[in-house]
Symmetry: C2
Subunit: 196 residues, 2 copies
Amino acid sequence: MIQDIIRKTRTVRKFQGEIKISQEILLDLVDLARLGGSARNRQPLCYMLITASEQCEEIFPLLGWAGYLSDWPGPEAGERPVAYILCLLDTKRCEEPENEVYIDLGIASQNILLGAAERGIFGCRIGAFSKDAIGRSLDLENRYKPLLVLALGYPAEEVVLEEMEHDGDIRYWRDGDGVHHVPKRRLSEIVLVPGS
Amino acid sequence: MIQDIIRKTRTVRKFQGEIKISQEILLDLVDLARLGGSARNRQPLCYMLITASEQCEEIFPLLGWAGYLSDWPGPEAGERPVAYILCLLDTKRCEEPENEVYIDLGIASQNILLGAAERGIFGCRIGAFSKDAIGRSLDLENRYKPLLVLALGYPAEEVVLEEMEHDGDIRYWRDGDGVHHVPKRRLSEIVLVPGS
């Protein structure tokens, strides 16, 4: 059931640093992104696949991690992502990152993360990074605009969903055992009845 | 395999108008949207579920259909969507529809359409509609901003993916038998090699 894999596909920020991910697996995942729908069928997104250790090490310090865990600067050495998929806008295929491009990006990244979860690989969408620094680090042509980084690896933390109270606190938290808890709004809080 | 359901999840614009979809099924689909990730865990999206025939008839003329099929004004009576999920931004949970909200919308709508495809239900993301007219038609509070309409039903057309030539024509087309063809960029056209 798709529900099981959707439920399983959680954001993970600590990884088993010693288990690498091959370019072949990343290609399979990007193929899932490719098969997603795209507004006006423009398909303006491109993907750079990063698996080499030295490149992963160069990218890591450019990324912002887990805004709500203010005392946690990000995963330690040995728990860092072992691969990245950098999602880019190809401005020759669509000049501006319009709203529709971000919808495409949500679709594409969800397909990637669902396919990853099926293989036991998890990840984190990171939008907080210096576009210029990433561009310089990867020698990106001006044609490509970095939009999102997917940090990937085999998980080294447990993530649990919690039911949120009525418009309660949205901040995730880690408990004393390092388990990461994510409050989710209830179905009744997000469904509107017409005419009500 | 997730790949099979992702491949199967195609945009459909002609439906079997006599087979209805229940509110229960739509609630199950919105629950899949609920389980998707959300930037900063804000979960700012809400969903209005529309299954009543008279409401579907009211909404239908407000929607824009298939931009590239210029001689096709949209599905005829009997082939129209039997249900809609209207995706809204709850401005009390996030004031502005920022880029991150559209990423959330891509994730949520993809989860909905994957879950729908598993049940044999297909749909179309429609962004081309009058926000004001939809708001009036559904008596929406100002608090809620319509972002996207998902038109749903059991399919009455076949959709086929085609391999696109190098930066070729992105326009989908219908052949003489009414089969809908969608050109997709090849994997090699969307993957960049670092440093190349």
